[in-house]
Amino acid sequence: MSARLIPPVSELTRPYWDAASQHTLVLQHCEAEDKYVFPPRAHSPWGGGPLTWKPVSGKGTVYTYTVAHRPPHPVFADSCPMAIAIVELAEGPRMMSNIVHCDPADLQVGMAVQVAFEAIDDSDITLPVFEPA
């Protein structure tokens, strides 16, 4: 892909990034509420119960987006214009992401997307992104 701000991985979040490196999207799941959790927590935000990692479909829709013409940070200087979006996953949670393989003019709120994976330059991290479904 291109240069990025490399995410600071912790022991708590390592399963998410390990799965991403295997091209799988996993989220924590709260058994008590039967709901998925994002971003990762130490305890369920619904009552503090336990959470377990589970693979999810990788399908979602664009909740909102922007096309950044000016780099939000110098590290993105070669990436602009870039589509930054909030994706609402089929399992419920929303997450920040990028929409790739899509002409910015074709972006729409509500459009169906699916997860894709791209390696970050200069790191061993693979970043989940989304592309038109």
């Binding site: 701000l5 971003p39 000016r70």
Partner: protein, 420 residues
């Protein structure tokens, strides 16, 4: 229990926003504003026994003690408020609550930031990018970024271990432009909004700034066409819809009801307050119909026992044009989905039928860090006190001030009244 009428603002001082400060330290800047506010009220230092400040870059901690010693205060109530752009409004109700509970009698609320001129960076991609004039230049992210490099390399994690750094920043959700642009996209999708409607907010506020000598854009008229001709930074937001960072300071002195008579200035009574914190990442924010903006505003109006339609000045946090529209609607100044039509059909200047951000707002008055959010409060107070000069609203009885932090994450609302 209600805060209504427990305390009033009796002293105001503001160091007018400017692009850069000189050699003075942040403590010198804050000290000037603090002393001016105490003097404005006609109080003495030994009458000030409360102090509220915010986190300050360059001071690793112990901020209230550091500031108090520098000012010559020994407060019996000392507090740090860390609510981004809602910090100023959040300070004022905390001051009133501390006074009401007996922890202090007169409380200084102090905000400010300094800003040194930096050596201009080489442009990110092309030579015509004016990185000096736009918020993208000021993001508080990795100082290790090396813009000189032709081809950027990825940047190792900084000391920031927040979920934002891990799950938002890698995608370019850095700073605020991206987030407010996404809010504008979503609002437009749900309710409809035109570029011209957003631009009208910036233009009416500029008209207000043009009669405020302290405003950073005091001498620069602005048209809707100019806003729409300015560069698109993040779709759909243009450069002139985006606040320009500045330096400055603002201080308020809040005192108890039974000390109001000691003050040189007329009181601006705190009649109601509300606050809300709903998320950190915009991806985790509630929907537009259930934002914290409305929670804080409705709490403030409810405590004051008044309606939005009762107030004669809306002093609303404006980091971006879209934020004003979101707040007008969520706070109840207009109905759901009506914000675009509302701003188009009202004259929002000091002389108009819906005075809004009569100081010019941050967009045209200037955003001096936390003092930017405090500017909505200082303007509401000055207008209530009848000290707003050429932009004074005639016969003003009630004003609403709203602060907003992060990407609509932190909210604080205040209702001020001329009468208790």
């Amino acid at each position: 229990m209600s805060l209504r009428g427990a305390a009033a603002v009796v002293g105001v001082a503001e160091k007018a926003p400017q692009r850069y400060t000189g050699e003075e330290t942040i403590l010198e800047l804050l000290s000037e504003a603090a002393n001016d506010a105490i003097a404005d009220a006609g109080f003495q230092h030994n009458q000030v026994d409360g102090l509220i400040v915010h986190p300050i870059g360059g001071l690793p901690g112990f901020v209230p003690a550091t500031v108090a010693e520098f000012l010559g205060l020994q407060p019996t109530f000392a507090e740090v408020v860390d609510l981004g752009g809602a910090t100023g409004a959040g300070m004022v109700w905390r001051a009133a609550a501390a006074i009401q509970s007996g922890m202090c009698t007169s409380c200084l609320c102090l905000t400010g930031t300094r800003r040194r001129r930096r050596t201009p960076r080489p442009a990110a991609k092309t030579d015509d990018i004016k990185t000096d004039d736009i918020k993208t230049d000021d993001f508080k992210t990795d100082k290790g970024a090396s813009p000189e490099r032709r081809q950027p390399r990825s940047i190792q994690p900084s000391r920031d271990r927040s979920p934002l750094a891990e799950f938002d920043s890698p995608y370019g959700m850095v700073g605020a432009n991206v987030g407010y642009a996404m809010l504008a996209t979503r609002y437009t999708h749900e309710y409809g909004l035109t570029d011209e409607q957003r631009a009208k907010v910036a233009v009416d506020q500029r008209k207000n700034a043009n009669v405020n000598p302290a405003a950073i854009f005091h001498d620069q008229p602005l048209t809707i066409e100019e806003v729409l001709a300015s560069e698109i930074i993040c779709e759909p937001l243009h450069m002139l819809e985006i606040v320009m960072p500045a330096a400055g300071a603002a201080a308020l002195l809040v005192t108890s009801a039974n000390r109001v008579a000691d003050a040189r200035q007329a009181p601006a009574w705190v009649l109601g307050a509300g606050e809300s914190v709903t998320h950190s990442s915009l991806a985790q924010a509630p929907g537009l119909d259930t934002t914290g903006i409305g929670i804080a505003a409705h709490a403030a109006f409810s405590q004051a026992g008044v309606q939005p339609s009762d107030v004669g000045l809306a002093s609303l946090y404006d980091c971006y044009t879209i934020m004003v529209l979101l707040t007008l609607e969520a706070a109840g100044f207009c109905g759901r989905g009506e914000a675009g039509a509302f701003v188009q059909s009202h004259d929002m200047t000091y002389a108009g039928d819906f005075p809004l951000n009569t100081h010019g707002g941050q967009l045209s008055f200037g955003q001096a860090g936390m003092a930017g959010g405090m500017s909505h409060v200082t303007e509401a107070v000055r207008q209530i006190q009848g000290r707003a000069g050429d932009r004074q609203i005639t016969g003003l009885e009630l004003a609403y001030a709203h602060g907003n932090g992060g990407i609509i994450a932190e909210q604080a609302g205040l209702v001020f009244g001329a009468q208790r």
